[in-house]
Subunit: 235 residues, 2 copies
C-alpha cells in the first residue's frame, strides 16, 4: 500500500526529479508530467513540446484520467519553469512566449488537473518567483509569466475557482535553489544561501499530509541563510 498519489509537473527538472525521488522514498505513488520520462516515477505523462496550449491541456487531462481510473490525487505539484532575460528593446515577444509556455501553460494545466482530480482538501503547488513581486526590467517576459502565476494562485484559492472543497493552493517563490547547474555556473557563490532541493521536497510532503500549511493562496518565499531555510509569506 502506498500513502497516496501525487503528480509532479516538471518531474524531470532538478527540483522536480528531487520531488519524485523524495515522495517515492516515502512510499507515495508518483506520476511525472514532463517533456521526457523520469524512470523513477510510477507513471509518466509526456507532453508534446510542439502542441498548442489547448492540445497540451487536453492531452494531459485525458492521460491523467486514464491513469487514475477514478482515484483521486493528494497533490499536484508544478515545478516546471525556465528563465530568459531581455528587455523591451528586442525579442520581447520571443522571450515572453517561451516564459509563458514554460511557466504559465504548465501552471494552468496543473490547475485544471487539480480541479478535476484532486481530492477534497488536497494540495496544489505552483512555482512563482521573488523578483516578479516587483518590476523586472532586465527579464521582462519572465517577470510577466511569474506575476501571472502569482495572481493565478490567488484566484485558485478563492471560492468558485473550480478546485475541490478545502483544497489548498500555494506558490513557492524560490530565490536560488541548490541545483547542480547553479553550482556549475556559480561555483564561487555562498551555497549556504541556496535552498536545498530536499528541503523543498520535504516541505511539499508536509503540506501534502496537511501539516504546517500557511494561509490558502500564499506566496511563500524560501529564504535561506547559513544553510537554514525560512518561509516568508509575501504581502
Amino acid at each position: 500500500m502506498v500513502n497516496g498519489k501525487v503528480l509532479i509537473y516538471g518531474g524531470r527538472g532538478a527540483l522536480g526529479a528531487s520531488c519524485v525521488q523524495f515522495f517515492k522514498s516515502n512510499n507515495w505513488w508518483v506520476g511525472c508530467i514532463d517533456l521526457t520520462e523520469n524512470d523513477s516515477a510510477d507513471v509518466n505523462i509526456v507532453v508534446d513540446r510542439d502542441a498548442d496550449w489547448v492540445s497540451q491541456e487536453q492531452n494531459v487531462l485525458s492521460k491523467v484520467e486514464a491513469t487514475l481510473n477514478g482515484d483521486k490525487l493528494d497533490a499536484v505539484i508544478c515545478v516546471a519553469g525556465g528563465w530568459a532575460g531581455g528587455n523591451a528593446k528586442k525579442d520581447l515577444a520571443k522571450n515572453s512566449d517561451l516564459m509563458w509556455k514554460q511557466s504559465v501553460w504548465s501552471s494552468t494545466i496543473s490547475a485544471t488537473v487539480a480541479a478535476n482530480h484532486l481530492m477534497s482538501g488536497g494540495l496544489l503547488v505552483l512555482t512563482g518567483a521573488n523578483p516578479a513581486l516587483n518590476g523586472t526590467p532586465g527579464m521582462i517576459g519572465y517577470g510577466m509569466a511569474k506575476a501571472a502565476v502569482h495572481q493565478l494562485t490567488k484566484s485558485l484559492s478563492e471560492e468558485d475557482s473550480g478546485l475541490p472543497e478545502n483544497s489548498f493552493v500555494v506558490s513557492i517563490l524560490p530565490i536560488t535553489l541548490d541545483t547542480p547547474m547553479n553550482r556549475k555556473w556559480m561555483p564561487t557563490a555562498d551555497f549556504g544561501t541556496w535552498t536545498p532541493l530536499d528541503f523543498v521536497a520535504g516541505l511539499f510532503l508536509k503540506w501534502t499530509k496537511g501539516e504546517e500549511r500557511p494561509a490558502n493562496g500564499s506566496l511563500v518565499k524560501l529564504v535561506t541563510k547559513d544553510a537554514k531555510t525560512e518561509l516568508v509569506i509575501a504581502d
Copy 2:
C-alpha cells in the same frame, strides 16, 4: 503642421476609436494598429489575427518603422483587450490563450514599438484591470493576463527596461467604461458610475503633453461617481 504623433493600439475598439477621434480633432497625427482599419486614422497597421506573437511583433515593428521614416512618436497608447470568464474546471487553456493574445501580445508589442520609436520623455499607456489586483476565480485567464500587464508596467518604468530616457509608462485600470455595448447589455445600470470615453481620451492627451503625469509605473484606477471621474493610484 500637427502637434505630434501618437499610435493607438486597438484603435478600432470603443475606447480606441474614441482616442483616435479625440487626438485627430486636436490636430495630432494618429496611427491605428488593430485587426481592421479605422478610416479616421492617418495610417492603419493591420495585424494578422492568425499570426503568432513573434510574427505580429515583427510585422507591426517593420510597418511602424516604414511609416515613421525616422520620426519619433509622442505616445504609444494600447487599449486593445478583451474579456472571458471561466474558472479552472473547464477550458482554462482556451480562455487564457485568448486573453493572453488580446491583452498581453498587444501590450508587449506596444512596449517594443515604444522602446524603438518613442521620443525621449514620451508616453506609453497600457490597459490593466482593477479586479486583477486581487484574485479573479470566475475569470482566471483574464486576471492572469491583466496581472501580467500590471507587472509589465512596473518593469517598463524601471531603469534599463529598453524604453527611451525619461519615458513615462502607466496602466489605466478602468472599472466600467461608458461604451455603447455596455449600455446595450446593462441598460438599467447607473451610467453615472461609468467612465466616459472622452474623459479617458482627454487624460491621454494631457499625459502625452506631459501634463499631470502621476508617478512613473503607476496603475491608475479610473473611479467614476456621480458622473465625475477620479484617478486613484493602486498600491
